[in-house]
Symmetry: C2
Subunit: 450 residues, 2 copies
Amino acid sequence: MKPSIPKGTRDFAPEEMVRRNYIFDTVKSVFRLYGFNQIETPAMENLSTLMGKYGEEGDKLLFKILNSGNWLSGLEGEDLQEASVPRLTNKVSEKGLRYDLTVPFARFVVQNRDKIQFPFKRYQIQPVWRADRPQKGRYREFYQCDVDVVGTDSLFSELELIQIVEEVYRRLGINVCLHINNRKILAGIAQIVGQADKMIDITVAIDKLDKIGLDKVNQELLDKGLPQEAVSRLQPILMLSGSNTEKLQSLRTILAESEIGLRGIDELETIFAYCRDAEVNLNIELDLTLARGLNYYTGAIFEVKALDVEMGSITGGGRYDNLTGIFGMPNVSGVGISFGADRIYDVLNQLDLYPKTTTDSTQLLFAVFGEAEQRYAIRWANALRKAGKNVEVYPDIVKMKKQMAYADQKHIPYVAIVGSDEMQSDTVMLKNLLTGEQQALTLEQLTKLI
Amino acid sequence: MKPSIPKGTRDFAPEEMVRRNYIFDTVKSVFRLYGFNQIETPAMENLSTLMGKYGEEGDKLLFKILNSGNWLSGLEGEDLQEASVPRLTNKVSEKGLRYDLTVPFARFVVQNRDKIQFPFKRYQIQPVWRADRPQKGRYREFYQCDVDVVGTDSLFSELELIQIVEEVYRRLGINVCLHINNRKILAGIAQIVGQADKMIDITVAIDKLDKIGLDKVNQELLDKGLPQEAVSRLQPILMLSGSNTEKLQSLRTILAESEIGLRGIDELETIFAYCRDAEVNLNIELDLTLARGLNYYTGAIFEVKALDVEMGSITGGGRYDNLTGIFGMPNVSGVGISFGADRIYDVLNQLDLYPKTTTDSTQLLFAVFGEAEQRYAIRWANALRKAGKNVEVYPDIVKMKKQMAYADQKHIPYVAIVGSDEMQSDTVMLKNLLTGEQQALTLEQLTKLI
């Protein structure tokens, strides 16, 4: 009868929390440098807020809360006989757990539109829940770290998000490449090949270029129903190469007849110019295969990949022109990105990039031989805490070996041993657990040393 | 069709988050000073973990998650006809939202017993959910801040929790009184009046002494079925007064024949002695009317009240000897307290004790007259951010008045105005929004000033 937790969920032990907090604290401090403020929304939202926002599949993946009290009371005899899952679900459940932070954010903006000062720069770091099949690296509860500006269509906001990406990964020590594209360019490409409805097929095929080569990509496009002429028109796009500037120049020729395509090119050129002004020193690659979340993105789209480790996208986002439209507030443009805490956690682990020291943990343990020694240690511990040091006094009177093992397992670097000799000379015997070194120290000496 | 959130839940806007984070950061930093480490557990627990732990009423207040997929499949025809809510709930729901942090903590300890180093000092700050009827100050989602030591029965741990209470409220600037009692003393009192099963009635009556006076308390005890003799035996306890030491001395006489009562007295005396050794400078009052959570507490119990404002208990907890017993791991003694973030929030608001400045917010906004000025401002903003300042550049080219209004509403103290004159002289015009004062500054001067 050993207890367990629901599949796809996790406990976080102290050593994992230190690492997770390191990631959260890093992104938060960078978000703040750029004037973003934190909000939080409830774990539960009304199902009317959530349903229909993530597609049919998404609706199924929502965790739904059974109505409180007599949840059967809303059901009639026919309901039970009919036994239609979606219809009955609707009658026994009004609330669900949030599936992402984007829809609750849009709901927040609309609900608080009169109180919000636009442009509204917010960040939000909270768990989300999805009833996905659990598998390696995919959980049913995980944290998202979202940062968004809404209420401005200035491309200056895209610059700020790029700067935030640069600074976050500089601080974390992860080498990354930011892939950038523009939804308007993708629309332009589909337009000039005369296949506006095939935009996703085209993007998916382009995406495989590296892996399967040009011939097979062309074959796939034909298989998907693209006429030979459209495939021919795509060739210059498929063979696009060179620097971002060169790619944009070629695209300008290729998309000359697509107004929306040209607007997408203009936008990216402005963003690149801003990056030069701001001396952004990040690998940025114009990547036409990048398509993500085509449903609500309307302008620039981003994805960040770590260079030194095999891992999917660790950050992503883009510009949306009408996120709040679903809640009856049209024409609020915004742009946002989301940092994937779980994947960043894995990257830092794989590359062994966590800081070796942390101020979260205990720096020193007083190991005591008896009750008198313990009472003596209390005062020393108080003085050290006043100086801002995290210290512990071992609570039980047990063998020194056990107290040492405690310090060792908790990765406490110093143990101050207190016996009757030390009490008489008003010192402690400080042992450095890393080096094994020992020395008798006064309180003043000890405070200076740790 | 304005969207809304479920009743009893809340959004937290930026200015509320700053204040909440101030509370959380304060308690966390104090917890760490004493060597407590953070853990987190999933929002969802198996219902088998939660049910039966909070009494029958508690079971009803659990938010239950509808099983994913075809949740009807577990039901048979008879189930539906019978329509018994508890039986059907059991068949359509396996998981629930955590109701507190204590039961998940006990589950965590048992599940991870092989990995945990005892004594295990943990803190946990996460939301909990209860399907209570929402009312003023009572929410369906709220945060708990719990700090516990398990795996030691040393009263030294009680001292540490008292020191944590002292330091947290010193830092927050709230004057408090810590009420302390001992479950063993309450058991002893019931024992010596010969009414072991009437412990709660007796405590409830004692609790009213201040409000209704001795005569009415005695009448209430008789009404509850206590014989006259028992009420007479209770008189010295009801009239107990003086310092904590004096009260304990009187109690030692009164409870002379109750072994468990005497042990409770011994425990409190030891705790008071530790407090003297540690130079604890907190109002501590032995309060025999304090009974809280009689179900699992077995030793010292605590409650903290703010002195300068009418508010219920803002922190509470106690010693439990067998919390993990419910999950098959007996004899793990522990002691813990929980800080009530929502009530502390209200106390700080009522007493206007929040710090006037915060490092979370934007310190300076660059207000710009045009695109060239914006690009100029980017470099200044970068330099200031390198120096750790939170700064913003207004993203849109709009009237100066609008940019000023933005700074004003966001409580940004400084605005650096950039026009063509400033660009030529390589300065900005810094305006202090509090004083209205303006001065032209170089980057170096600006960095020093803010």
